[in-house]
Assembly symmetry: C2
Homo-oligomer: 376 residues x 2
């Protein structure tokens, strides 16, 4: 990627409050440089007027250069969908939640730390829970995380006090990889009491945020951030949660993304376990007692998808975009992505993403120059 | 019932180790007096040779008179299927488990106490769990039982130390009705440390056993007893259970009888909650936090069957005997029980039981002298 493109990504990552569905659609349609140009000049292609309002407040202020400089200073970078480090497979699930409030994939992610985001999230489990955790909750979190790290998993959490902190700390104590997904700029140690913890995380792990440097945490950003915690993980486990804990929101995102949800029981007399018990009772989460139970959640049949095998979904599990893309592939011969995108009426970037998923399912095949239906 | 019949029931209740499927079949076929006579003389009708082996060890010793005297002395009685107090509806579920090891209904029940067995079990919940209960388990048992009694339910348990004892005690403390189903004779205070507790239970509640007075508790009798605890209840709730707790066996009987099973979670660090957590995790029990959750288990749609409404089952929920009995009723006119039993090829007593169930479903109607299909 050349400097101009990098600056365009950074500009667009700052110019609207994530998630930025309209901006992403514009980038898919005209490329990142022209998209940035269009937003900055308020001169957008037909059909993309929707991008104007979400960018109206910030389009005049181009912080791209300083944001990238801040990132470099902090051993960070902006990871975009065209970078190898982009966890595209994991984030793909969010394209299906596009229409949900605060849904949709991130435009790009600010990442700092010595780890590779995609490598950590590839086999990661999200371990989340209440900030006001109990000694019980902290104890079981440490134990569970130690088990997860022992079986080669990374641990994703939100960097907060309470269960999040216990999860990150236990991962580090076991020499494991952990990713903290923040609801503020990745340059801000929030909460400040976790400055030391974040310093430990970025040694081999990463701190991640879709917000540009300097962004402060806000209530709506926690909810938006939660979808990334869910999407970047193979399972979400709620260790302790009160009646209205934010981790229930993370669990709800997991359900939307098709990520299995576990919850750990505790004393019914503990207010910090009420959220977990309700989710189990109401069928929103599976009861998990230990790391083995979590492995079973991820691979009920004992076969780990990440280990190379893939399951072939039946028709019903294809989303609308995937179905349309598959249907747009000619019955004989092959077609280019542009041809398929045109036939399906779907932007090129989303078509590419759908084709990648369909290929893993064995429903389409690439022949180098184009895509075709697989030989039977 | 005349004295001769009563003595015959008492003789047969002692003459083989329950459950006594062969003896019950013989009573159904020839009546209780002739059945007792046949067993005592070893001269049984054709097709009933199966009754000889289970009664071989005890047939010569007729304890009927002394057993009935013991019962009378203890404010007790022998409750048989022909007595009003017989909880026939509840026990009907056991006829479907006839072929399971230790399955099938009891021949009769020895009952002592001021309560009426059928009245207590009509709206009862079984509250069971580990003998080696923790302070946590005892606490939540008290709380849950207080809630159940508050909503007019009776509490059935096994009279043992630990959770059982907490359940009975909490019921008495709330002026509620409770039934202890024993694995020994109803005249034996087992465990002896519960002598005082049993004295409290029999004031308004009952102590129940299918074993004749003087029978000592034995391991196999606990397992056999467990089926009665399950069948006599509208729901079974396991408060605490270790990995191999006997209450898991009670829960398994509940599943066989179509009685819903709840389990209360606890700390995952507690060995006494492992059984509960496994049942929830593996889908054998629903997680319940409080008495409200138990009510929801019993009446998911908020309608209590016991309150007078009955649900009409579709064809699939009729068992084989019920289907055959229904099919044996003539298309026009009515038939006597004997005629229906003959046509269906099913013993009169079981035919009567099936007709009673079919009547509650509205699938047959009684016209005083016989049974017919309901008017449409």
């Amino acid at each position: 990627m050349d400097a101009r493109e990098r600056l365009a990504w950074a500009y667009l990552a700052a110019v609207s409050e994530p998630p930025s569905a309209a901006v992403i659609r514009l980038v898919d349609a005209v490329g990142v440089v022209d998209a940035a140009q269009a937003v900055a000049t308020r001169c957008v292609p037909e059909g993309h007027q929707g991008v104007l309002r979400p960018t109206a407040a910030r389009y005049e202020k181009d912080t791209a250069r300083t944001d990238l400089e801040t990132a470099e200073r902090m051993n960070g970078r902006l990871v975009t969908p065209v970078d190898d480090e982009w966890p595209g497979w994991a984030l793909h699930a969010l394209t299906m939640s596009d229409t949900a409030p605060r849904g949709g994939p991130p435009l790009a992610l600010w990442v700092r730390g010595g780890g590779r985001l995609d490598a950590i999230t590839d086999r990661a489990v999200a371990v989340v829970g209440s900030r006001a955790s109990t000694g019980y909750g902290q104890h079981i979190t440490s134990k569970m995380v130690t088990g997860l790290i022992g079986s080669g998993r990374g641990v994703v959490s939100g960097g907060a006090y309470g269960i999040d902190g216990s999860a990150h700390r236990a991962a580090l104590a076991s020499d494991g990889l952990t990713a903290a997904v923040l609801a503020c700029g990745f340059d801000i140690d929030y909460p400040t009491g976790h400055t030391q913890l974040f310093a430990g995380i970025v040694a081999d792990g990463v701190v991640v945020s879709e917000y540009p440097p300097g962004t402060s945490a806000g209530r709506h950003r926690f909810l938006t951030r939660n979808r990334l915690v869910a999407a970047l993980s193979k399972a979400v486990v709620v260790m302790e949660a009160g009646r209205r804990s934010g981790s229930l929101n993370t669990a709800a995102w997991a359900v939307k993304c098709g990520v299995p949800v576990g919850a750990v029981p505790g004393p019914v007399t503990s207010a910090m376990s009420v959220g977990c018990h309700r989710m189990i009772r109401d069928g929103q989460a599976q009861l998990v007692m230990d790391a083995d139970d979590i492995e079973h959640l991820i691979t009920p049949d004992g076969v780990d998808d990440a280990a190379g095998t893939t399951r072939r979904p039946d028709e019903r599990t294809l989303d609308d975009v995937q179905s349309r893309v598959r249907d747009a592939i000619p019955g004989r011969g092959s077609a280019t992505i542009a041809e398929i995108a045109f036939a399906a009426g779907i932007e090129v970037a989303r078509t590419r993403s759908a084709l990648a998923m369909l290929e893993t399912y064995g429903l389409v095949a690439s022949d180098g120059s184009g895509w075709r239906l697989p030989a039977r």
